[in-house]
C-alpha cells in the first residue's frame, strides 16, 4: 500500500510536471497554464485517491464486518485474506486471533462445565461428609459421655480402692497387733496355768485349815452341849428350891405366929431362887444363841468346804482349760502370724492396685479431655465444612456465571 501510495504520488507529481510544461508551451499566459496544470493535477490526484481509497477500504470493510460478527460473540466464521498489504496482515492476525479465541472459549466452556459438574459433586460430597461428620459428632458426644462416666466411675472406684487399700493397711496393722497379742496371750495363758496350779496348792492348804477349824467347832459344840446340860441341872435345882421355899412358906403360914420368922426366911429364899432362875434362864438363852451360832458356823464351814471342793474341781477343769487355751492360742498365734503376713502382702497389692487405678483414672480424665477437645475439633471441622460448602456453592455460582458469560460465544454447533 505504501508502494501504491508512493507510485501514485510520484505519478501525480510527474503528471503535474508534464502538464505544467505542456501548458506552458500551449498557453500564452502563465496564469492560464498554471490554472490548467492545477486542474489537471487535481483531477489526476482525485483519480489516484479514489483508486487507492477503494482498494484499501474494500479489505478494511470486510475486516470491519468480521470484527463486528466476532464482537457479537460468533467465532464460527472463517476469515479469508487476499490482500498482502497491511490490511491483509491485520486480517490474517485477526483470523489467528479468532481461531485462538475460539479454541480458548471452547476450552473455557468445557472447563466451566467440568467445574459445575465437579462442584456439584463436591457439594454432594460435602453434604454427605457433613452428615457423616454430624453422626461422628454425635458418636463422639456419646463417647465423651461414656468417657466422663468412665472417668467418674473410675474416680469412684479409685476412691473405693483407696479406702479398701487404707482399710487393708489398717487390717494389716491390726493383724500385726493381733499376732503380738496372740503371742502375749500364749505367755499369759501359761502364767494363768501356773497361777491356777499354785492356787490349787494354796486351796489345799486352806482346806486343811478348814478341816482343823471344823474339828475345833465340833469340840466347841460338844462343850456347849455339856454346858447346857449343866444349866439344865442348875435350872432344875432352882425350880426345886423355888418349890421348897414355897412349901416352906405354906408350912410357916400354917404354924401361925411361931412360923412367922421362918416364913420371912422362906420368902427370901424364894426371891433368891427366882433370881437364880432368871439368871439361869439368861445363861440358857446365851448358850442357845452360842449353840445356834456354832451351828451356823458349822453349816457355813460345811458350805465353805463344799465350795472349796467345787473350787478344787473348777481349778482342775481350769487347768485343763488353760492347757486347751495354751494349745489353741499357740495355734491361733501361728494363724495370726500367717494372717499378718498375708494381710501385709494384700496391703501392698491393694496399694499397687489403687495406684494403678489412680493412673487409670488420670488416663480416663485425659481421655475425656481429649474427647472434649476432639469434639471441639469436630466443631471446627464442621465450621470448615460449612465454609467449604459455602465456598463450593460460591464456586458453583461462579462457574454458572462463567458459563453464562461464555455462553455468549458461539464456537461450534452446539
Amino acid at each position: 500500500m505504501r508502494n501504491k501510495l508512493v507510485i501514485s504520488f510520484t505519478g501525480v507529481i510527474l503528471w503535474m510536471l508534464a502538464v505544467n510544461f505542456l501548458s506552458n508551451l500551449i498557453m500564452d499566459s502563465a496564469w492560464k497554464s498554471q490554472a490548467l496544470s492545477i486542474a489537471m493535477g487535481l483531477l489526476v490526484g482525485m483519480i489516484f485517491g479514489i483508486y487507492i481509497s477503494n482498494s484499501v477500504s474494500k479489505n478494511l470493510f470486510q475486516l470491519v464486518e468480521a470484527t463486528t460478527v466476532v464482537s457479537e460473540g460468533d467465532l464460527r466464521q472463517e476469515i479469508e485474506v487476499k490482500a498482502t498489504d497491511e490490511i491483509g496482515k491485520l486480517a490474517a492476525s485477526f483470523k489467528t486471533m479468532v481461531l485462538n479465541l475460539r479454541q480458548i472459549v471452547a476450552n473455557v466452556k468445557k472447563g466451566s462445565h467440568k467445574v459445575i459438574q465437579s462442584s456439584d459433586e463436591v457439594y454432594d460430597s460435602i453434604k454427605k461428609l457433613s452428615g457423616i461428620s454430624e453422626q461422628f459428632a454425635s458418636e463422639v458426644e456419646k463417647v465423651i459421655g461414656a468417657a466422663q462416666k468412665q472417668f467418674t466411675l473410675l474416680s469412684q472406684d479409685s476412691l473405693a480402692l483407696k479406702s479398701i487399700s487404707d482399710s487393708v493397711g489398717k487390717i494389716a496393722t491390726m493383724a500385726n497387733v493381733a499376732s503380738l497379742s496372740a503371742s502375749r496371750a500364749v505367755k499369759n495363758s501359761y502364767e494363768g496355768k501356773n497361777a491356777a496350779e499354785s492356787a490349787i496348792s494354796q486351796i489345799q492348804g486352806v482346806f486343811s485349815q478348814v478341816e482343823k477349824s471344823i474339828l475345833l467347832t465340833q469340840g466347841l459344840g460338844n462343850k456347849i452341849i455339856k454346858m447346857s446340860r449343866v444349866m439344865e441341872i442348875i435350872t432344875d435345882i432352882a425350880r426345886k428350891t423355888d418349890m421348897l421355899s414355897l412349901n416352906a412358906t405354906v408350912e410357916a403360914s400354917k404354924a401361925g405366929e411361931y412360923g412367922k420368922g421362918f416364913g420371912i426366911v422362906a420368902e427370901e429364899i424364894r426371891y433368891l431362887t427366882e433370881e437364880s432362875k432368871s439368871s439361869a434362864k439368861e445363861i440358857s438363852l446365851l448358850i442357845e444363841e452360842i449353840q445356834s451360832e456354832n451351828a451356823a458356823v458349822k453349816t457355813s464351814i460345811g458350805e465353805g468346804v463344799a465350795g472349796i471342793n467345787r473350787g478344787r474341781e473348777t481349778m482342775g477343769t481350769l487347768i485343763k482349760n488353760f492347757d486347751h487355751i495354751v494349745d489353741e492360742v499357740t495355734k491361733l498365734g501361728g494363724g495370726f502370724e500367717e494372717i499378718s503376713i498375708e494381710t501385709n502382702r494384700q496391703a501392698m497389692d491393694s496399694k499397687t492396685i489403687a495406684q494403678a487405678f489412680e493412673e487409670l483414672t488420670k488416663f480416663a480424665e485425659a481421655n475425656s479431655l481429649a474427647m472434649q477437645k476432639s469434639n471441639e475439633v469436630m466443631g471446627d471441622q464442621k465450621k470448615i465444612l460449612e465454609q467449604t460448602k459455602a465456598s463450593s456453592q460460591n464456586l458453583m455460582n461462579t462457574a454458572h456465571k462463567l458459563n453464562e458469560a461464555v455462553a455468549k460465544f458461539k464456537v461450534a454447533d452446539e
Binding site: 435350872t235 425350880r239 412358906t249 405354906v250 424364894r270
Partner: protein, 146 residues
C-alpha cells in the same frame, strides 16, 4: 389377916387362901384315868398317897395353855379330901388384910367359873379370888354332868 397364893391360868390371874394349900409339887407323872370327867387330868402318886389332879382351866372355862416347866400342881386339903389342881405358874404369896369385893370383870369364865370366882381382890385389879369352899362342895356333890 389371910395369906393368899397368887397364880395364873393362861393369862388370867387368880388367887386363893393359902390356908388350904398342903404342898406344891412339880407337874410330873400324871396318870390319865379312863371315863373321868373332862376336867380331870388323871392321878398322881405322891409318897404313896394318890391324888386326883383337876384341870382348873378346863373347869373354869379359861382357854388352856401348853404345859411348861413352870406349871405346878398345888395339892389342896379340905376336910380329909386332898385334891391337886394344875396351874400354869405360881407368882407369889401375899398377905391380905381387907376382904375381897364382889365383882366379875372377865369374860373368860364359864358359868362355873363365874360361880367360883365371884370376888375380886381389892389391892390389885383383875385378880379373881377362887372360892375353894364352893369348889370342894361342887366336887363332893359329884354333879359333874349337870
Amino acid at each position: 389377916m389371910n395369906k393368899i397364893l397368887l397364880f395364873e391360868l393362861n393369862t388370867q390371874s387368880l388367887g386363893f387362901d393359902l390356908h388350904y394349900v398342903k404342898e406344891v409339887i412339880e407337874n410330873k407323872n400324871i396318870q390319865p384315868v379312863p371315863l373321868a370327867p373332862h376336867f380331870v387330868l388323871g392321878i398322881v402318886n405322891r409318897r404313896g398317897k394318890i391324888f386326883t389332879i383337876i384341870n382348873l382351866a378346863a373347869l373354869l372355862g379359861v382357854p388352856s395353855k401348853e404345859l411348861s416347866p413352870d406349871s405346878r400342881i398345888v395339892i389342896l386339903e379340905h376336910k380329909a379330901m386332898d385334891i391337886g389342881i394344875l396351874v400354869d405358874i405360881i407368882n407369889q404369896t401375899k398377905s391380905v388384910s381387907s376382904p375381897a369385893q364382889k365383882g366379875n370383870k372377865t369374860r373368860l369364865f364359864n358359868s362355873k367359873g363365874k360361880e367360883f370366882c365371884h370376888r375380886v381382890l381389892k389391892f390389885e385389879e383383875g385378880i379373881h379370888l377362887l372360892d375353894l369352899e364352893k369348889f370342894f362342895t361342887f366336887l363332893k356333890e359329884g354333879k359333874f354332868n349337870g
